[in-house]
């Protein structure tokens, strides 16, 4: 497996930022009421992640250790604001539904954690790939949770009606309690899968 493939497997499965590392849960819970919001947020966060990883990796030798976090945060905040304004200009509906959680991407632990753990210690290309992989992992987690919530609360996916009208619409799934519960279940499923594969590996040895 090439290093790039390994990085992708890492970001999507082994170290999925939301489902395994348990980072970035605030936006996951808040925007997973509909799939369009989830995908929009996922893409926005991925864009910021890639850009900030690239810049921080390029500047990594110049940033003094003491102001590391502050410097990272300035770079990330800059890209978040840029994405915010671009969304406001070219996708205003998405910008409205995501609301406050777009500027809150700056405190999405995933981005700061990857800057600290990877971008500040690796080259530009590797960091860009890491940003893409982790961003895709985050988006995937968002999609899982949002699909379940939208399906159960409105019977639709991407606003296309999927379930027959007779299917009861569980309103609570679209509200905060449902968000917590669905996310908990999704992470539990992920953990079960990983436990099983770990047990298989251990038994196989």
């Amino acid at each position: 497996m090439t290093q790039t493939m390994r990085q992708f497997k890492n970001g999507l499965v082994d170290q999925n930022p939301t489902l395994v590392l348990l980072l970035g849960m605030c936006p996951t819970l808040a925007v997973s009421t509909s799939l369009t919001n989830a995908v929009g947020m996922g893409l926005a966060a991925t864009a910021v992640l890639i850009c900030s990883n690239v810049v921080i990796s390029a500047l990594r030798k110049l940033i003094p250790d003491k102001i590391r976090i502050a410097a990272f945060v300035v770079v990330i905040a800059g890209f978040v604001t840029a994405v915010d304004y671009l969304l406001q200009a070219f996708a205003p509906a998405l910008s409205d539904s995501l609301g406050m959680f777009i500027p809150l991407i700056v405190v999405n632990c995933i981005i700061l954690a990857r800057a600290e753990a990877f971008a500040s210690k690796n080259g530009v290309v590797r960091s860009a790939i890491d940003g893409l992989a982790m961003g895709m992992g985050f988006t995937m987690a968002l999609i899982f949770v949002a699909a379940v919530r939208e399906l159960l609360s409105a019977g639709t996916l991407f606003e296309f009606t999927i379930l027959p009208d007779a299917f009861p619409k569980i309103d609570i799934m679209g509200q905060p309690p449902g968000g917590f519960i669905v996310l908990g279940v999704v992470i539990a499923v992920m953990q079960a899968v990983r436990n099983r594969s770990k047990a298989k590996n251990a038994a196989g040895l």
Binding site: T33, D65, V74, G78, A82, Y85, A154, K169, G174
Partner: protein, 277 residues
Amino acid sequence: MNEDFAEAAEPREPVSGVTEPASEPSGEPVPDEPVTGSGPDGAPPKPPYKKLPDLKGVMMRTGPFLNAAGKGLRAAVRVTAAVLRVIWRILCAIGRFLHRVFRKDSIPNLILVLALLTAVTAAGLGVIYTVTGPQIEAARAEAFDAAMGEVFPGLELAFVKSSFGENVYEGRDADGNLAGFSILVSPDGYSGPIGMIVGVDLRREVTGVTVVSQRETRGFDAKGTMQNGFLEQFAGKNGPFALGNGIDAISGATISSEAVTQGVNDALALLDREIQP
């Protein structure tokens, strides 16, 4: 003729007056002396040939200038070189000083890096802000007109604040004629205020009602649309409205239905108050 030819065949002696000193070989071939027809008698033949440029004379005259200029130039170069060397030394000293002050972990360097980063970020964001600014304004205006115009189905209106208070907007069609009013109201619902827009035409009839924000737990589906076509019941009517009197509440959502009905009444009352004081 034969005589001339014979003379011409004899080796000639150099004519005085045009002496070529042996030590200065000229680069130019000496033009042949044309036969003039006059022999050794009489004055030496006048030279109708081309005159040589007086190179020697030129060089004799300009030589001193050139020497002086050369010396001056060399002096100038030496001085310039010396000055440049001094400047270079000063720059190196400054560089060393800065390098010592702005060591990687020193306080001035911390401040410098952070300030530079913030400045570059500010510049970049300023550019993006200026570039996307007009587009954002246009998108907002479009969304505003669309939202306000939802209560006037089938018409394309532009909305401006009216002189009747900050919650009443005038809707004008493409020719600038007033078509109606969009009124913003927020009655208190079950779980908080319900943001509504009520459209009223010039006959004081309700053209439409939409809900833009609510946190109700019943009466609205997951997309925020009020159920059972509740809002359509107001269109074309004059008011005042009351549940049970031509307006059917949504079953199980009485409080929300009551709130919305009250909102429509509030809007009409607001319009009445402002237009006919």
